[in-house]
């Protein structure tokens, strides 16, 4: 049997397949399709301190091999999450990662401090990169300084490991990655969505009520894969690869480029069984190629 487990240092996953925040609900929506216990873990929807209404519709528009979303992080806040959701998720034997959001740096810290008191969370994913928020497309992950500031603030108090989720909308991703590492981040998630838009030419209005949204899906895979490879050359902390993964092959590309684990996002909508199929395909690849432990392929790109 192949050993699919991967070690992030701060967290051991039974396999490298996680789900991307905002695309897997709170996990339970997918139980008719996937046994959550078979996943490496799952990242729940972005969480602010207080409940948020999100953006007006239309919130979605499909593009060539991609999806632009402007959900605007509609959510229930830490209190309801802790009281209503957490108790019911803790019976699953898989890593639960909470995607942490904030309008100000202090809000991130407030969310993690609140959650620190709750059980059943394996790690935090700091979402400093969402393009759909008040800051008008601007977010901490767009500069090394603001990245460093949020990460180090959260790390000051956080009792749990922190994975910082970066934005791909930057000139030099390695610079931001290094800032997050210096701020004390335990790992990096690469990446969030690309700032995008679409126009209805008949009405001459934006197709999203929010004008801008974030592009995800297979269209972006070549871009985030490149970033994972670049960052893997520059940092010491583990990387979680995200962007357009729909197949085992896609996941393998990210791992060979240097990701220790991957997250599946938009593919969950296209085929809610995607994660299951990807795990199966990783196993088949390892068997076919005589790879005993999947960790052996991480960062093995021959250039």
């Amino acid at each position: 049997m192949t050993d699919l487990s991967v070690d992030l240092g701060f967290l051991r996953l039974k396999n490298p397949v996680l789900t991307a925040s905002g695309t897997f609900g709170y996990g339970v929506e997918f139980t008719p399709f996937v046994d959550l216990n078979e996943l490496g873990g799952f990242v729940v929807k972005g969480l602010y301190f207080h409940p948020r209404p999100g953006n007006p519709p239309p919130r979605l528009v499909e593009t060539a091999s991609g999806l632009i979303n402007a959900i605007g992080l509609q959510g229930i806040g830490v209190k309801r999450f802790s009281e209503e959701i957490l108790p019911r998720l803790k019976d699953y034997d898989t890593a639960l990662i909470v995607n942490v959001c904030g309008d100000e740096d202090e809000e991130y810290a407030a969310v993690t401090e609140y959650l620190d008191k709750q059980d059943g969370i394996a790690a935090y994913e700091l979402n400093i990169s969402c393009p759909n928020t008040k800051r008008d497309g601007r977010c901490p992950a767009l500069s090394p300084d603001t990245t460093h500031a949020v990460v180090s603030l959260v790390k000051k108090t956080s009792k749990r490991p922190v994975i910082t989720k970066l934005s791909p909308n930057v000139t030099d991703i390695t610079e931001i990655a290094l800032a997050a590492q210096e701020g004390g981040s335990d790992g990096l998630a690469l990446a969030n969505t690309f700032l995008a838009m679409a126009i209805d030419v008949e009405t001459r209005t934006p197709k999203l009520a929010n004008v801008f949204g974030g592009l995800s899906g297979p269209a972006i895979k070549p871009l985030t894969l490149r970033m994972v490879y670049q960052v893997a050359q520059s940092v010491q902390i583990p990387i979680v690869g995200i962007g357009g993964i729909v197949s085992g092959n896609d996941a393998l590309e990210y791992m060979i480029a240097g990701a220790s684990a991957i997250e599946v996002g938009t593919a969950n909508f296209v085929d809610p069984e995607s994660t299951k199929n990807i795990i199966r395909d990783l196993e088949a690849y390892c068997r076919k190629n005589g790879i005993q432990r999947i960790e052996q392929i991480i960062g093995t790109l021959k250039v």
Binding site: G22, T23, F24, G25, Y26, V28, E29, F30, T31, P32, F33, D35, N37, K45, P53, G54, P56, P57, P58, R59, L60, V61, E62, A64, S65, G66, L67, N69, I71, Q74, I76, R80, E84, I85, R88, L89, D91, Y92, G217, P218, V246, T266, N268, F269, V270, D271, P272, E273
Partner: protein, 288 residues
């Protein structure tokens, strides 16, 4: 695996989704056994036993239109009819996805998920009562299934079916052949009464008193139906459309502002709907 899920079911508010989830099925290879087309409109029948068994009128499926990465997302299509192990859908080729779907042939397979959402409310109190079903264009799709269910329930459905031209009301014969009471309109008068289906509804309500109205069609049509129903004090239900990412409550992409109790909230059409009672719906012109 079911234990933790079942625990959830006691918590109704945010876990409504889990209740639905438990009943949905993926059929990656539903065999197409029937195809009919009328211009842009297409009817496909396919084998999907579990969905056929559980579906209720007003529920829908999410269907992939092809195997490749463009178009990417599934498309929502209402359940048009159910017989034994077979489900039928009826759709208009509106864009890239539905056009591809219309290229499917007998013996091809469909990749679908369903049944999804909440359908029309059917109570025993409808027995022996008149009800009106209003369908505009492709909006007729779910009303065929509904009409059958209503008849089985002992209700007396009358169908109002309107389209732009004679080419947009292709299902008229299907209803007629099965002895449904059906009134037809076309905007250009090429068949049935000339005018909009809502005009006919308005006029006919002078001597016809349904206790319930069920409507599906373009937003503007449904809004007019809503106004008429309110005037006449008839309870009405509407099947709403929204652009959907997942179809089962996971993406929060399909929301619309709805009146829940006293508050207005962004609600997921796929999960809380697509069918809603008129009282909950905020129509576009009222919104500002």
């Amino acid at each position: 695996m079911l234990t933790p899920l079942l625990k959830l079911l006691r918590y109704s508010d945010i876990f409504v989704v889990a209740k639905i989830a438990i009943r949905m099925h993926k059929e990656p290879k539903a065999l197409i056994i029937l195809k009919r087309t009328w211009g842009d409109y297409c009817l496909l029948g396919f084998r999907a036993e579990r969905i056929a068994t559980e579906a209720q009128p007003g529920q829908f499926i999410m269907v992939r239109s092809g195997d490749n990465l463009h178009p990417l997302l599934r498309r929502p299509i209402s359940i048009h009819s159910v017989q034994d192990d077979t489900v039928e859908i009826f759709f208009q080729q509106a864009g890239i996805g539905t056009r591809l779907l219309g290229q499917k042939e007998k013996d091809d397979t469909l990749d679908i998920i369903g049944p999804l959402g909440k359908g029309f409310h059917l109570e025993n109190s409808l027995q022996e009562k008149s009800v009106a079903l209003i369908g505009g264009g492709r909006g007729i799709a779910p009303l065929y299934f509904l009409a059958h269910k209503l008849r089985n329930l002992g209700a007396l459905p009358r169908i109002y079916y309107g389209g732009r031209t004679i080419n947009d009301i292709p299902l008229r014969k299907k209803f007629e052949e099965e002895d449904f009471e059906i009134l037809l309109t076309t905007d250009d008068g090429s068949f049935g009464s000339k005018g909009q289906v809502t005009d006919l509804l308005h006029v006919s309500l002078q001597d016809f008193s349904p206790i319930r109205i069920f409507a599906c069609g373009p937003e503007a049509m449904m809004q007019k139906v809503s106004r008429i129903a309110r005037e006449k004090n008839i309870a009405a239900e509407f099947s709403l459309e929204a652009i959907m990412g997942c179809g089962f409550g996971a993406c929060w992409g399909c929301v619309r502002k709805l009146k829940n109790d006293t508050q207005e909230e962004w609600s997921k059409i796929c999960e809380e709907g697509p069918v809603f009672p008129g009282e909950k719906i905020i129509w576009q012109e009222e919104e500002q």
